[in-house]
Amino acid sequence: MTIAQTDDPETVPVPEGHVRLTVDGVTVDAPKGELIIRTAERIGVEVPRFCDHPLLDPAAACRQCLVEVEMGGRPMPKPQPACAVTVADGMVVKTQASSAVADKAQQGVMELLLINHPLDCPICDKGGECPLQNQALKHGRAESRFVDTKRTFAKPVPITAQVLLDRERCVLCQRCTRFADEIAGDVFIDLLERGAVQQIGTHETADLDETDAVIGQPHGSYFSGNIIQICPVGALTSAAYRFRSRPFDLVSTPSMCEHCASGCAQRSDWRRGHVTRRLAGNDPAVNEEWNCDKGRFAFRYATAEDRLRKPLVRGADNELHEASWTDALRAAAAGLAKARGERGVAVLPGGRLTVEDAYAYAKFARLALHTNDVDFRARVHSAEELDFLTDSVVGRTPEHGGVSYADIESAPAVLSVAFEPEEESPIVFLRLRKAARKRGLRYFHLGQWTTPAVDKAFGALVPVVPGDEARGLRELDEKVRDALGRPGALILVGERAAGVAGLPTAVRALSSWTGARVAWIPRRAGERGALEAGATPTLLPGGRPVTDAAARAEVERAWGVAPGGLPGTPGRDTGEILAAAADSRLSALVVGGVDPFDLPDPELALTALTTVDFVVSLELRPSEVTRRADVVLPVAPVQEKTGAYLDWEGRRREFESTLSGTGALPDCRVLDTLAVEMDVDLFTQTSGAAAGDLARLGRHSCTNEPVPVSAGEAARPGVGEAVLATWRTLLDNGSLQEGEPHLAATAKPVVARLSVATATGLGVQFGEPLTVSTARGSIVLPAVQADLPDGVVWLPENSGRSAVRRVLGVGHGAVVSVSAGGEH
């Protein structure tokens, strides 16, 4: 991979697996199979290009990268595309830097690319950051000889609700269509027509016969924003960003995505205190150069009108009133101190925190509130899950035995359990698809129906009835078990596993049985960090069990607490905390970013918040929690703070504040100050301080003997009933997606899915409404056919009207009534 020593290159042997060639007179060793264009890059020669993209298969379509190539002393008769020809021993490459032929060829192609281009750089979003503009200035003629009529098209054409196409600017490099075809696997755009009127189009813009139109169903992509970013011209623009600013007026700050545990590196472009757009960062080990659309487009929640900017305190009139930080913190401290002395206080930090913020909650609970009643899990959860996390997840990082993206890429087989990769961790899905496409990974999906992700990862469904996943794992097909027995095989477990009794136990058993390694992939960006930071009822930071006196002593020393100063009994988990609060067995709650409707029993959560004497809420925007809180302390959104997430791998994803000086405070700072009011020092004034404090604790290794949990019986539906399968889709009713109509329009249609036999049995017609109900409420959705097991109905968990927990009060695996018809 290195440039040969220039002092005497001929004497140095060519490294194994490499070839030696010269590029513009420089002798260089290159790995076999490397493309000329990359070898040239390594010696500092940039060959102009449009269709070439390192993560896409070569196309050699734009012909911009033509270079002269000599093989075995014989020049090849025609200039060759550097993006498609691989290096060979003894090859002599002459780029535009040393060959007049290559230079002329490139100038010629550039001129041809521009004859039909509108040359409207001054009004183009891409102007200023445009490869066409840059390369035309570098490798093109100053004046065009083209005096005839340019080809024109109507514009813009909507590709999706958030991507608009200007066909006149397009140079037909096919990066977008190749992205759709190769990377995402979503056939939402393709080339249409031919010759000079060849164009990018969609199912809707194609001139199809009626008979042809039925062949394909138009559907979008969760990854369509990437085509805007990789478009080398201004042909693809973002509906949300279009005509909003010039790239050179923006400040770019590296950032990390807060939406899920994939851990995408990003770049946030901003000006005048507002983020105007977000782009995928280049991190080959994590997201490569891709983002999902949620990560790219959903950031306006932070600038919503109703954003909390000042503390609120409930007054004598029982209304919330704006208050100074001093007054609010004093009120909060007084209320909490009082509650601590009564029936105690519990902490629900939520799953969207940075490690540092989560650590502050964990430390605040122990030091200021003297309790282990802290649980980040604002979703379905179980003691068995916590046991599994303690045993198989905490402390694992790519450096310390954890599964990484690279492991997925090289795995021979992957089984996903209670995890829909495209919906719940889109970058993991892209890696699965890449590995399946390029390396023959075999993907098995233990679930209820063949989701698009399963097809796109060339996978196979291992069907199970909801709630029966543990048995499904025990009775896996021999073919699947054998595949998982191959070295490097992986089991990817989602957070939903907590909802099925015995499933974490079964995963562990399958792992020890086959040797396949396990990775836990939660949905939320903060869950992994909160686990490591000790925001759980049984673990202190670094995975130290609260029941382990030695582990406790380590923390006591580090925190400067007297021996025995930390509570040694396990705390209550989220469900137990809420039940206790609803039952007046708790006096107060400190709540971070938690939406009660995400909780297993939203009604119980609301009762708990109402019943408890005192509620302190740290929030960004008004919520069901702030409405019931006694003190509301506004906190900073991700753009306005510094910190780090841990992605599902356990990899630290550090970021600096994008917008500084807004006055917004991170949770760790708010808690630190609140603690000071309660005469406790957390040393988490800044996230840097918090990170340092946490790092000083160091790693901890302890053995955990998990308690096996036996699987329950799968529910059996009676007449007019079905077992509910449900999980969240990537784009749904989540509050972080608010304020993004273009993004919301690309969400999947909200439908109920069931098999033909189930539909027949229930008298349901596909395409017609169907009603799913429980004693608490009912949801009416159009019925759509899918290959679910019989007697199972699938609903999106929190999309549109289908707010399963909120309306039905039940979740995955429950028996629900299903009937034909119904009014929306």
Binding site: A60, A61, R63, L191, R194, G195
Partner: protein, 435 residues
């Protein structure tokens, strides 16, 4: 330049059955030695057949002239993946009219050739990709394939040899580019007809990513004759490096346009004699040796031997031996414009030089023919041609510039003359504006 050899007597081989009544029928074909070569071929080994075709010196009749036996030998010896034989019957080169008449008059010679070639390459499925517009030809070929199945020349255990072969006749959807072999394969797979990146070459990963050989109709139809009469017989016709007979499709200003089978190396002078000379005696002005993609020739080239070497040495290419003859009444810029419009219409759009270049060239030529050109346009034409030639993804771009480059090479005066009238027009305009 080699001295042209005296003309061989015209030896109808591929065309010998064409005038027989109902020559396309299996019964007629069988009476005229039909399917005798197949029996002979099946008695031998695939290796022997490949060697025979190599020895015969048969070169691809689709235009490029690649040695057929060598191409066959690229097919892997194992059968880890299915092997495919694909017949390129997407005859669409302007002026070319040899494969369609062959398939109309003698479809069984192609089918017999397919069985032999498939046997030689261990293929059990052959696709014949016929130009979609030639519906009559698709029908005739389909009917002949049906006859061959009924008679046991196709299907399972052909002639008790244990060899199986299916033939699928596929109609294209009307795109010149699908005559390019990799675009043809994509089209056959149901994708957009656009050329593929090579490598991998079809012999390694062709149709459905399996080893594939793509051969022209005339090439494969020649094979039964070689099997029956031997390599030496085949080499007795034509010239050393380009042996065998060839169907010349002569069109344009001759008395009797049509298909004339003559040995490789025959000259235009000889062909014109066969075709009854120039129509109405009006002198020859320019002609193409092998369709519009081959640079044009003039009366100077009447004695150029028309084989792969001869045409190349004289600055053109043999192409598909579509001899288009134009007399002195034809304006070269106009003819070049029409050809260029064809390429603009047929460019697949994949690569920049061909897509944008043909669009530009056509506009310049249209403007010149309208009398609105300038001498600078001629320089631009040549420079744009230079930027397309050898820069495009496939050979279509190279072919597109041939008429322009050769037209300007031989008839620049005519292009300049068009500009003269423009200049005169501009002067008039100047006066009008001055008032």
């Amino acid at each position: 330049m080699t001295t042209p050899r005296p003309a061989d007597p015209i030896t109808p081989v591929l065309t010998k059955r064409w005038l027989s009544p109902r020559s396309w029928r299996l019964s007629v074909y069988e009476q005229l030695e039909g399917y005798t070569a197949l029996r002979k071929a099946l008695a031998g080994t695939p290796e022997q057949l490949v060697q025979l075709v190599k020895d015969s010196g048969l070169r691809g009749r689709g235009g490029a002239g690649f040695p057929t036996g060598l191409k066959w030998s690229f097919m892997p010896p194992n059968e880890d993946k299915p092997h495919y034989l694909v017949i390129n019957a997407d005859e669409g080169e302007p002026g070319t009219c040899k494969d369609i008449p062959l398939m109309m008059a003698d479809p069984h010679s192609l089918i017999e050739g397919c069985v032999i070639a498939a046997y030689a390459m261990r293929s059990h499925h052959c696709f014949i990709y016929v130009r979609g517009e030639a519906l009559h030809c698709v029908r005739r070929l389909t009917s002949a394939v049906r006859e061959a199945y009924t008679a046991g020349y196709l299907g399972r255990n052909i002639l008790d040899s244990g060899f199986d072969l299916d033939i699928t006749v596929h109609a294209g959807a009307g795109a010149y580019i699908c005559g390019e072999e990799t675009a043809l394969l994509d089209s056959l797979e149901g994708r957009r007809g656009q050329p593929r990146l090579k490598p991998p070459f079809p012999a390694a990963a062709g149709l459905y990513a399996a080893p594939t050989t793509v051969n022209n109709v005339e090439t494969i139809a020649s094979v039964p004759f070689i099997v029956n009469a031997g390599a030496d017989w085949f080499r007795s016709m034509g010239r050393e490096k380009s042996p065998g007979p060839k169907i010349f499709s002569i069109s344009g200003h001759v008395e009797q346009p049509g298909q004339y089978e003559a040995p490789m190396g025959t000259t235009l002078r000889e062909l014109l004699e066969l075709a009854g000379g120039m129509k109405d005696g009006i002198p020859l002005k320019f002609w193409t040796p092998g369709g519009s993609s081959t640079p044009m020739f003039t009366a100077e080239h009447l004695d150029t031997p028309l084989d792969f070497e001869g045409a190349t040495e004289a600055g053109s290419m043999l192409g598909t031996t579509a001899v288009q003859v134009f007399n002195e009444t034809v304006s070269v810029p106009w003819a070049v414009m029409k050809w260029t419009q064809f390429y603009e219409h047929e460019s697949c759009g994949k690569c920049t030089p061909c897509r944008e270049g043909t669009y530009w060239l056509a506009q310049i030529l249209e403007r010149m023919v309208r009398g609105e050109g300038t001498p600078a346009d001629i320089d631009t034409l040549l420079d744009v041609c230079d930027n397309i030639f050898g820069r495009s993804f496939c050979a279509l771009g190279d072919g597109a510039v041939s008429p322009i480059q050769s037209g300007i090479k031989y008839f620049k005066d005519e292009f300049l003359a068009l500009c003269e009238s423009n200049a005169a027009h501009a002067r008039e305009h100047e006066l009008a504006g001055a008032r």
